[in-house]
């Protein structure tokens, strides 16, 4: 892509690592919607065989962070971050990989993609998956065919992953507008970028897990039987024989 212009809007996702329960529903609904959507099909090779492998736009990892009481298990959805500095776009030799000026969404034109896979090498986040059957690269479209779709009810005009999340851990909006709900959420909760050191300036933000509850006070020690009198003292003496 050439003649790059800063997009007017910066549509993206805010993912709450505090509330994500790791159910994979967002990944499943993403696959379901997108296998009939803009970049359809999300090809599966050997789908019912021993070496099933296919294209997904959203993958849910689970990590452990920290040790002992301070440690946490964190479910971690991973998808395209629609970066402001998308190297996947600038390395593309044909211009098939592009970032939209009007909303910042990064897309692939399947008619001009030559399948060289260089964009997937340039993406630090592993957001792009090659469709070996069609010979072109595929990636998250931010459900471009839902968010502007006037044939579905307005409440459903959000990405499939957002609409399906049972824990309300995924939020969609304009991160270029400081007054938007998603921008406020990022400001309130300290939303952050993944691998900021590489300078891709991702649009999507992650909300950190809230600090854990303070460790519970130590359990009271075993009651001491010494010095008991009366009935309990008699029981203690009997049991101690």
């Amino acid at each position: 892509m050439t003649g790059y212009v800063t997009p007017r809007r910066r549509l993206g996702l805010v993912i709450d690592l505090d509330t994500c329960v790791g159910c994979h529903a967002c990944a499943v609904n993403c696959k379901e919607w997108n296998t009939g959507g803009h970049s359809a099909p999300l090809t599966d090779l050997d789908p019912y065989g021993p070496a099933a492998s296919g294209v997904w736009f959203n993958r849910i990892h689970s990590f452990e962070a920290g040790e002992g009481r301070a440690g946490r298990t964190v479910n971690f959805p991973r998808s395209c971050l629609h970066c402001d500095e998308p190297a996947c776009v600038t390395v593309c030799p044909t211009g098939a990989s592009y970032k939209r000026e009007e909303d910042g969404i990064v897309l692939v034109n399947p008619d001009t993609c030559i399948g060289c896979k260089l964009c997937s090498w340039a993406c630090p986040y592993g957001a792009r998956e090659y469709d070996e059957d069609e010979g072109v690269m595929k990636k998250c479209t931010l459900c471009i065919d839902r968010i502007y779709n006037e044939t579905i009810p307005e409440a459903e005009r959000v990405p499939a992953c957002v609409s399906t999340c049972p824990a309300h851990a995924r939020h969609f909006g304009d991160l270029g507008d400081p007054a938007s709900e998603v921008s406020r959420l990022v400001a309130e909760r300290g939303g952050y970028d993944l691998m900021p050191e590489l300078g891709y300036r991702p649009v999507n933000k992650y909300l950190p897990p809230r600090p854990g509850r303070p460790a519970p006070p130590p359990q009271p020690a075993e009651p001491d039987a010494e010095g008991l009198t009366g009935f309990l003292g008699w029981v203690d003496r009997m049991l101690s024989r």
Binding site: G54, V74, F76, C92, P93, T94, Y125, E129, Y130, E197
Partner: protein
């Protein structure tokens, strides 16, 4: 990174081809070699065959090779596109030079202009190839100061070794200086690759599992559950791993077979007469190419991608 055979063959063949092409073009420009049918056919023919074979090999890993022509359009931002443009642009002076050198006897000025243009195009194309890798920030083993010198040095070493073999076979007086240049280029390749591997072994990547997830604020991060139990494109393309003990052995093989032995054989060829000289020179060139193939395989196999930080890799 997965070491794709088509890309390894492409980078080694085109590197050697452009090295040979640049050497012959410069010698022609200087008037050190005179136009001749057999030398033109063998020398320029071999150079253009290696370059063309390499470029064709590179299209084998494309999902849509029939659309490869589209890759010439994005030269303003893409090093891959620039490489394509540079390669095609180099064919013009190189083809003309090869044609005139082989079948006609052009004047000194024509040879000088075409020779310099061809040599510049050859160097520019190898530079673009190297920059494709040098510019990829997620791959620490490529995005560093040693990638470009490595590609240029190996292209020069293999190209000069081939040029020496061709010139020695024809008994051209220019073979002597070219042989000495080949030894110098092999020594440079040795030094650059040693520095590159020392860099890989001592300088860690900036990205870590902690920065990839942003969970470093809690503590050390490790993968508990992967997102899927089977393989996927990312694991196949970026999850290639090589045991450290194999890497150490292969580094030694690449250096001994690809640099030390060829340099010694070039020295033997310089000190002996035909037919031993020719035999040693060709053996040197073939060994240098074989060593470059091992080196290029390692360049991919040892490279780690930040995506694997999400799949349990402890470092990138």
């Amino acid at each position: 990174m997965h070491p794709a055979l088509s890309v390894i063959v492409f980078t080694v063949a085109s590197g050697a081809g452009y090295g040979l092409l640049a050497t012959l073009a410069l010698l022609a420009a200087l008037g050190t070699i005179a136009p001749s049918l057999p030398l033109g056919l063998a020398g320029f023919g071999l150079a253009l065959a290696l370059v063309t074979g390499g470029l064709l090999s590179s299209t084998l890993h494309l999902g849509h090779p029939e659309r490869a022509w589209r890759a010439f359009s994005q030269w303003r931002t893409s090093w891959l596109s620039r490489e394509g443009v540079a390669a095609v642009a180099t064919y013009l002076p190189a083809g003309l030079l090869a044609l005139l050198f082989t079948f006609f006897a052009p004047g000194r000025a024509t040879l000088a202009i075409l020779g310099l243009l061809t040599a510049a195009g050859a160097v520019a194309t190898v530079l673009c190839t190297a920059m494709i890798y040098r510019s990829l920030k997620p791959i620490h083993a490529w995005c560093n100061q040693w990638t470009v010198p490595g590609y240029l040095a190996l292209g020069a070493a293999t190209g000069l070794a081939l040029a020496f073999a061709v010139l020695a076979a024809f008994g051209v007086p220019a073979a002597g200086p070219v042989g000495i240049a080949a030894i110098a280029a092999l020594a440079a390749a040795w030094w650059v690759k040693r520095a590159y591997w020392s860099f890989l072994d001592t300088v860690p990547a900036a990205s870590t599992p902690e920065s990839a997830t942003g969970l470093g604020r809690i503590g050390k991060v490790r993968l508990l559950d992967p997102p899927h139990t089977g393989a996927n494109y990312l694991a196949r393309e970026m999850g290639f791993r090589i045991a450290r003990k194999h890497a150490t052995k292969l580094r030694a093989i690449a250096m001994v077979a690809g640099v030390v032995l060829p340099a010694a054989l070039v020295a033997v060829a310089l000190a002996t007469t035909q037919p031993l000289a020719s035999l040693a020179a060709w053996l040197a060139a073939l060994l240098a190419l074989a060593g470059a193939l091992v080196e290029r395989w390692l360049f991919f196999a040892e490279a780690k991608h930040t995506t694997m930080l999400y799949y349990g890799a402890a470092s990138a």
